[in-house]
């Protein structure tokens, strides 16, 4: 199902596994098999070391102090911004705003650009496969502004109905906020086409890259998206760090998000002038340690090579899809032509939760439930799915174990 024209030199998964200490642990007396990567990935030792090194070697608040520690911490923190800029091919480093995560990045746009630009009767388009974090901020904004939220429906195979999207677009459309890769289905959406169509109507486009950045090459200039949001923790980096990319002219015109230190130029009791980009949007002391360690995570994946990682994940996805399809009563939810390594499925007459508990009993971590996409689950008429999502350290042997675990669970539950 996944086609790779050029097969890159394959990745040494066993060498990679040794770099992830948590993979050595046992769960319920068995070696951990971690298939909940779409929720968060595990962290390699060097990322953990980067956190420890910061706190043991040069912990200091950034941008202000003139002492050595502050200079070192500031340099390391800002180096992450440069790496992120290269990672998503942004035009300038000022376009990289650090946040707490994808959710905060989206909310930042809703609260600043949204409040400034959305008026009564305006329309915002999202899709039926959005995560709650790309639904609720827009619902809140629409409620406040009397604007209208429109939803692109999905096909049975889990792809966007592009003809319906085109019908939804009009001069009323002010924003299209769309997920790049679905966390619940794995579908990779044709964002470039979506952006092009939106721009023709003069609408601004935000891409939710929470799931896509770990798998796909991201070039925000080539995509021509106006905003792009993603998180560190799904990219082998620490939790609590996210990125908002925005086109410079948009970010410059936007009001600040939060007020406080760092985001100001000059403060008097009469008036405050704001700092330049990107600091205008980074009020208060940021998450310094985790942001610094995020660079280590990005360098780690860059060293392995994204094409190699992708080839490995595609192989795992294809292997798992073929194997699991053979199980009685198993139905895959999300069979788009282009997918990231997310495999969502349901089993006839069996509640996903029972499967989740029984797999955990064998040391296998999967996600069960609605995956924060309740509206999408309603479209498919199911309470939730079982989701296995694969990362660089997963193996086909682990997928064999998953299939065995499922077979046994089906047997005792039927």
């Amino acid at each position: 199902m996944m086609e790779t024209a050029i097969i890159p030199e394959s990745l040494d998964v066993y060498a990679i596994r040794q770099q992830f200490p948590v993979l050595n642990r046992q769960v319920k007396g068995r070696p951990l098999i971690y298939f909940d990567n779409a929720a968060t990935s595990q962290k390699p030792q060097i990322v953990i070391d980067a956190l420890v090194n910061y706190y043991t070697g040069y912990n200091a608040n950034i941008h202000r102090g003139i002492h050595t520690l502050a200079e070192e911490a500031t340099a390391a923190f800002e180096a992450t911004r440069d790496t992120v800029q290269q990672f998503i091919h942004a035009a300038s480093r000022e376009e990289i705003i650090f946040t707490r995560g994808t959710t905060e990045s989206i909310n930042l746009v809703a609260y600043t650009w949204g409040r400034q630009n959305i008026k009564a009767g305006d329309e915002i388009i999202i899709s039926a496969m959005e995560h709650h974090s790309n639904i609720v901020p827009w619902q809140m904004l629409c409620e406040e502004k009397n604007a209208v939220l429109k939803v692109i429906p999905v096909t049975d195979s889990g792809e966007l109905r592009m003809e319906e999207y085109e019908k939804l677009l009009s001069e009323k459309t002010k924003l299209v906020s769309i997920v790049h890769a679905s966390n619940a289905l794995g579908t990779v959406n044709p964002v470039k086409e979506i952006i092009g169509l939106a721009h023709r109507q003069g609408a601004v486009v935000l891409v939710d890259g929470a799931q896509s950045t770990v798998h796909l090459d991201i070039d925000v200039q080539e995509l021509d998206c106006d905003f792009f949001a993603f998180s560190s923790h799904k990219l082998y980096g620490p939790t609590g760090v996210g990125v908002l990319y925005g086109k410079k002219q948009l970010l410059e015109a936007m009001p600040p998000f939060q007020g406080g230190g760092e985001m100001i130029r000059e403060v008097t009791f009469e008036k405050t002038t704001y700092n330049d980009l990107p600091y205008k949007f980074e009020a208060g002391t940021p998450n310094i340690a985790d942001t610094i360690a995020f660079k280590t995570a990005l360098d780690f994946t860059a060293r392995i090579g994204k094409d190699k990682i992708r080839a490995h994940e595609n192989e795992l996805l294809a292997y798992a899809t073929d194997l699991l399809k053979q199980l009685p009563g198993l139905r895959i939810i999300g069979e788009a032509k282009e997918k990231v390594s997310v495999l969502s499925f349901v089993l006839e007459h069996i509640h996903p939760q029972d499967i989740g508990i029984l797999l955990d009993n064998r040391g296998i971590a999967v996600r069960t439930g609605h995956h924060c996409a309740q509206a999408l689950m309603q479209c498919y008429g199911i309470p939730g799915t079982i989701r296995a999502s694969f990362a660089i350290y997963n193996t086909t042997e682990e997928i064999d174990e998953l299939a065995e675990g499922l077979k046994r669970a089906i047997k005792i539950l039927s």
């Binding site: 319920k28 007396g29 069996i350 509640h351 996903p352 939760q353 029972d354 989740g356 508990i357 029984l358 009993n361 069960t368 439930g369 609605h370 309470p383 939730g384 005792i412 539950l413």
Partner: protein, 147 residues
């Protein structure tokens, strides 16, 4: 189902039964078996009002009050939860509101099912216990003499 014994005695009975299993697989197989044997709840009771909200599975719980005692009936769309419900009913059903309110239900921890009480599981076991105690409290308030 007239209980011939106290809540604590039934709890001990379950603890003794689980002591026979040496693996988690066996424990869960037993719980699933209990779930399969739980009589289905009449459709009329599967109302929104009777829903005990958990994150992933749905539990319906209803109670009758007869001769000063509470009798529970429940069902879930998930099998392991059904098994857990079956045990709770076995322990609590047929007792007075006061007995139910005083029950500490330590057997859940002793048979190693504490994870099901954890917030992360959100499978409704905790809410179910709360709901059963709420019924006991409500019947006690409504029928002050009998309790």
């Amino acid at each position: 189902m007239e209980p011939k014994q106290t809540i604590a005695e039934t709890e001990q009975e379950i603890i003794d039964e689980f002591a026979l299993f040496d693996s988690w697989d066996d424990k869960y197989e037993y719980i699933i078996d209990l779930g399969k044997k739980l009589p289905p709840l009449d459709e009329q009771y599967k109302t929104d009002e009777n829903k005990v909200r958990g994150c992933q599975s749905t539990v319906w719980l209803t109670a009758d009050y007869r001769d000063g005692k509470i009798f529970f009936k429940a069902e879930s769309d998930a099998m392991i939860v059904k098994g857990l419900i079956s045990m709770l009913i076995r322990v609590l059903s047929g007792h007075t509101p006061d007995e139910i309110l005083a029950a500490d239900l330590g057997f859940i921890q002793k048979i190693g099912m504490t994870t099901h009480l954890a917030q992360t599981r959100s499978n409704g076991l905790l809410s179910m216990v709360k709901q059963m105690k709420n019924y006991a409290l409500a019947f006690k308030v409504k029928n002050p003499i009998t309790s």
